[in-house]
């Protein structure tokens, strides 16, 4: 049972295929009766347009590709899942945005030893690509960007990408450090850093270092994790074993490591925030459900994805866009792990359940032409 084509519709409606096409695409220059007749037949036959044929003829796929990285080589390991929370949110945002403009979303994941063939193939199947968080090498990025509209997401300044969409790590970190040092008066800071390879981790750490000096606090120790909760655990146990006094606050460069740290501290019955305060970065979903609730910096992951797709769309549509960088704002989220009083119940309840109006989509903090 072959799927019906416009030829079938044309025959059944007694018109030409051109007319069918015009009716289906709501083009002008068709009488209302003809249009309705065609649409009725289409409905009756359960017609669905063939996307490949349409794309070939129209000259555009109306599809946008999202390229993400799956760092772990082992699909069954927890660390893979963990590191992907951010990516999942980005994908959701991208899908939402794509659907709004009538585009489809094609997904490809780059695995450690898989090479970037999957990304390459997407060039011939999409109108543009969103490459998330260094999913491919610089060279691959340059290759892709040379022949396809590409936006780099959460990636500072890759070669060739027309567009960069990222968050304002500096401002988010600044607010957090200020809260800890100025508001709480903490003077001794321990830092759980992220992987060297991560631009986010680097930007956050450099800001902590710079601001701590400025504000009169001291970095009393740094440890390096890989952004996974497991690495947070490892770091916390290392600190415990060292016998050195705990810093007054442990700033973790993302939430997942903070979660690992909190778990170790709870097991060792070290009171948070009384003995040591702990903070994260990202505001992943569960952070609010930890005890104590994790003070962190919210990163608009969905908005990033949505913004990437919509700017890509404009780049494809619009005549041509200047090289641009979009920086989305972050937001300090104060819960109780920093030493602030726990929120009263109704607040927590409100936060989690209230169908309050959506916060306006994160606006752009700055759009700067890149040199």
């Amino acid at each position: 049972m072959r799927a019906p084509t416009i030829y079938d519709l044309a025959e059944k409606a007694g018109v030409s295929i051109a007319t069918v096409s015009r009716a289906l695409n709501a083009k002008a220059g068709l009488s209302a009766e003809t249009r309705d007749r065609v649409l009725a037949v289409a409905d009756e036959l359960g017609y669905v347009p063939n996307g490949t044929a349409r794309g070939l003829s129209y000259g555009a796929t109306e599809t946008i590709g999202v390229v993400v990285a799956t760092r772990s080589t082992n699909a069954a390991l927890a660390e893979e899942h963990e590191s992907l929370l951010f990516v999942d949110a980005v994908i959701r945002g991208a899908e939402r945005s794509a659907q709004r403009i009538g585009y489809a979303l094609l997904l490809a994941s780059i695995r450690p030893r898989s090479g970037w063939e999957a990304a390459k193939r997407m060039v011939g199947r999409t109108d543009g690509l969103v490459v998330v968080d260094r999913a491919v090498s610089e060279e691959a990025m340059a290759w892709l960007a040379a022949r396809h509209p590409v936006v780099a997401l959460a990636w500072d300044s890759p070669q060739g990408a027309e567009l960069v969409v990222r968050i304002d790590n500096v401002e988010g970190t600044r607010q957090l450090v200020e809260h800890l040092v100025v508001h709480h008066g903490y003077r001794e800071i321990g830092v759980v850093r992220g992987p060297e390879s991560s631009p986010d981790a680097t930007a956050r750490w450099q800001t902590v270092e710079r601001l701590a000096a400025t504000l009169g606090a001291r970095i009393v120790g740094t440890w390096t994790g890989d952004f996974s909760a497991a690495s947070g655990e490892r770091v916390a146990r290392t600190i415990g074993r060292s016998g050195a006094p705990l810093p007054r606050v442990l700033m973790c460069m993302n939430d997942q490591m903070a979660i690992g740290v909190l778990k170790v501290l709870a097991a060792q019955e070290i009171a948070v925030p009384q003995e040591v305060a702990v903070t994260g970065f990202d505001d992943i979903i569960v952070s609010r459900y930890l005890s104590p609730g994790l003070t962190t910096v919210r990163q608009p992951a969905e908005e990033l994805g949505a913004m990437a797709v919509s700017s890509l769309f404009e780049a494809v549509r619009g005549t041509h866009l200047a090289l641009r960088e979009m920086v989305l704002p972050t937001e300090l989220v104060v819960r109780s792990s920093c030493g602030c009083a726990p929120q009263p119940w109704y607040v927590a309840s409100h936060e989690a359940t209230d169908p309050a109006p959506s916060p306006a989509p994160a606006g752009m903090v700055g759009i700067t032409a890149m040199a």
Copy 2:
């Protein structure tokens, strides 16, 4: 700058387009020199095949669509994210499986008031569809399945779907109840149920009810949530306000509700598991990082996605498949919220960090012909 086509390659290599096509697709009947010459030219020009043209000519898109639901109407609300954890894992598994067979993955989300147009459109752009967790209505499912290969994931027996892939809720629940009643000897069980509309929730609840009776335990109360952590909070506060004595164990029909419950209990300084034990279902990522670690039942979400795609592929390829149902096994995950001793550190560490060999992909517990 137009993208190079096989015509460009043909001209530059001095052969016909047929030969180019044969070289690119590694077809037989080509001399090695010719093949290499064509491939060299393709490489030089940075050729990427046009997927739409290929699909149109070849008669298959080599794409599989995944249709998921986004229940929340408000993209910015936490509940949306929460309910999607499972879906994210499914998508990852599906993508992995698709990539392995050289397929692309197209993603569409059905939003509350968006209708199922997005799913309909996918029929013309894919070779098959995976519909997750009642993302579309029964009628829509029937419509889709009537004209496209469709597999229903985590959805009992929709009209028309050729394939159903789901987990063994009954066995997972059975193990959990047995652990609580037989091993721990708990006799008074409170149940935090999921939404009526969820087949998973229903299957789990019915199993609890049946087994409790069989094993001599009593259901001392049931409350209904909507699978979100926020609803878990609400339920826990309701229980607290009621003044009634706590059941010895609160079985939550998924992890997210358990997380909400745990948060309230922690805030009210009710000791878990000493005063009340708490369990979940799903084994989402963070469950192991809670204090106490959440005892739950692991649901192989990624495997579900992978299995759905690979069976769909076989259904498309193979001559024709009988109606089938695939049931993936669940696994009881004992942590400390049930009253078991906390795992020694090295175990937790191992669980989270060790690059141990992947557990064998979950095998099928049963493949049964559906009537």
